[in-house]
């Protein structure tokens, strides 16, 4: 083949490759959210403090008419220095309103709050998430709020309303039974491997009746927690410590002035042989939150949250979860669409079996978004 032909072929290949690039429908949108807090408490030895909340940077781009990419990373100081976490990163393609496929790291469809609120304090009316729905590195977290894998979602609309679904499947989580984090374990999310080789599976089905500003959803999760300890753990690394099934529901009614949201979780943990008592235990958690817009930019909020489980449940023992309930009362003032002030009082009441006194925390938060 002579050199001219070879050159022509090379040019055609390069030109074809360049021509295959899709033209973005929109530019990359970048935004940031953050908050600054002041916290005071009557807990013993508590130092009233200012703190930087998670600084959240996200990007979104519609890369063609059906496909978008989204990323979100967070800079935060959990008390031992500033760290960076890639919280979400996914690509999704919307084939129709009934089917959108995504791949990457995203929030588990466990209830309404976790599907709706991510990092970014300005998004929610309260200073914090419900304690048991905190992210995996928090001391009160009890379920994986993220997953790395595939998801499918969509909805169909008929005369009676809209029926939607969310399916998720991804790497299973892990626990280090040597409790290396201040005497407790943190839920481990493997971004690059599935140590237990047992995928987590989740489903959520949502119904929104026509003409009524509310939804009702049921959800479920099948999850296995693998031993993360390389030595000294209950089992060999990668072995299943706990097989878990979660079932629950969430509902919300919201108008411009008033909203009420409730979620309930039933958590069934099957400890494997050699893990605690090796038996199955069931715990539950729920919250109910009510919000009322008093006047234009002022909103009052109240939330009751509760966690209860069998003291012999090794899953909760590993996490160091505390049974009890919390009452949160707060007020939010929107200075404008991009920043808000929140004041909140949180009363923590440990279960009587723990022989600990209640404590009260006061929080003032200035939350913002930058676009």
């Amino acid at each position: 083949m002579n050199n001219v032909v070879k050159l022509g072929i090379r040019m055609a290949v390069v030109g074809g490759f360049l021509g295959m690039g899709a033209t973005p429908v929109q530019a990359l949108d970048i935004g940031a959210m953050g908050n600054v807090d002041f916290t005071a408490s009557n807990q013993q030895n508590y130092a009233n403090s200012f703190s930087l909340g998670a600084f959240d940077i996200y990007g979104n781009q519609q890369i063609d008419t059906k496909t978008r990419v989204f990323f979100e990373f967070v800079l935060e100081d959990g008390g031992s220095g500033m760290g960076v976490d890639l919280e979400r990163m996914f690509i999704s393609r919307k084939f129709s309103s009934a089917f959108e496929l995504s791949a990457g790291r995203y929030h588990t469809p466990l209830g309404y709050w976790n599907k709706t609120y991510h990092h970014g304090a300005i998004m929610s009316d309260t200073v914090d998430r419900p304690s048991f729905l905190e992210f995996e590195d928090a001391s009160t977290a009890i379920l994986p709020m993220h997953i790395i894998g595939l998801s499918a979602e969509g909805s169909v609309t008929g005369g009676a309303g809209k029926l939607g679904y969310q399916l998720a499947m991804g790497n299973s989580s892990s626990l280090d039974s040597t409790k290396p984090t201040n005497g407790r374990s943190e839920l481990g999310l493997p971004n690059v491997s599935d140590n237990a080789d047992k995928k987590a599976a989740l489903i959520r089905v949502v119904y929104q009746p026509e003409g009524v500003p509310m939804h009702f959803a049921v959800f479920g999760m099948n999850e296995s927690y693998a031993e993360a300890a390389t030595a000294g753990g209950y089992l060999a690394q990668g072995s299943t410590l706990v097989a878990q099934r979660v079932a629950g529901f969430d509902t919300r009614y919201a108008t411009d002035k008033f909203d009420v949201t409730a979620e309930y979780f039933n958590i069934r943990n099957g400890a494997q042989n050699g893990v605690g008592d090796g038996l199955t235990h069931t715990g539950k958690a729920y919250y109910v939150q009510v919000g009322y817009k008093v006047v234009d930019n002022w909103k009052v909020v109240y939330r009751r949250e509760s966690v209860d489980f069998d003291a012999a449940d090794e899953y909760f023992k590993l996490l160091g979860t505390e049974k009890g309930h919390k009452d949160v009362a707060g007020i939010r003032y929107d200075l404008d669409d991009s920043n808000a002030l929140k004041f909140e009082i949180k009363r923590n009441t440990p279960d009587s079996s723990l022989n600990r006194q209640s404590d009260t925390t006061y929080m003032l938060q200035w939350a913002f978004m930058a676009l």
Partner: protein, 146 residues
């Protein structure tokens, strides 16, 4: 004329020139247009707000529509969202940022100007957009004058 008087005169002259030269910008009358094949001849302001703010994608009768926006900074865009949704550009950005961040919706695609919007709406079944009233022609139908 001493130097000071010349300076004052120069400043006054430039100021006057600037005032005269500054055009008085008239806000275009914005209209909502639709593809001629749509089975409706009008939509309400509430429907316009619903479909352009990503709250739904159907109009009366259950007709599914696709909306198109205009690029940020276009005068007709500012007027449209002020009239239909009561939002200025910054408020609109914050609104969409929250929806995108929570995965609830994505903003409609944006085109450069009235001409591009009209061309797209006229050639796309179920399409709705907005343009200035002076750009309307027989290729599209006017659904709403907010």
């Amino acid at each position: 004329m001493n130097i000071f008087k010349r300076m004052v005169a120069s400043v006054a002259l430039f100021a006057a020139a600037g005032f005269i030269a500054t055009p008085v910008l008239a806000m275009p009358d914005v209209v909502v247009i639709g593809n001629s094949g749509l089975p409706v001849d009008s939509i309400t302001a509430d429907e316009a707000q619903t479909i352009f703010l990503g709250k739904g994608d159907t109009i009366k009768g259950g007709t599914r529509v696709t909306v198109v926006d205009q690029n940020e900074g276009a005068a007709v865009r500012s007027e449209f969202y002020q009239k239909v949704a009561g939002k200025n550009e910054q408020q609109l950005k914050a609104y969409w940022a929250k929806l995108v961040f929570t995965g609830q919706a994505t903003p409609p695609k944006a085109l450069a100007d009235d001409k591009a919007v009209k061309a797209w709406v006229s050639s796309t079944s179920g399409a709705i957009g907005y343009i200035s009233s002076g750009s309307v022609d027989s290729s599209v139908k006017v659904l709403l004058k907010p």
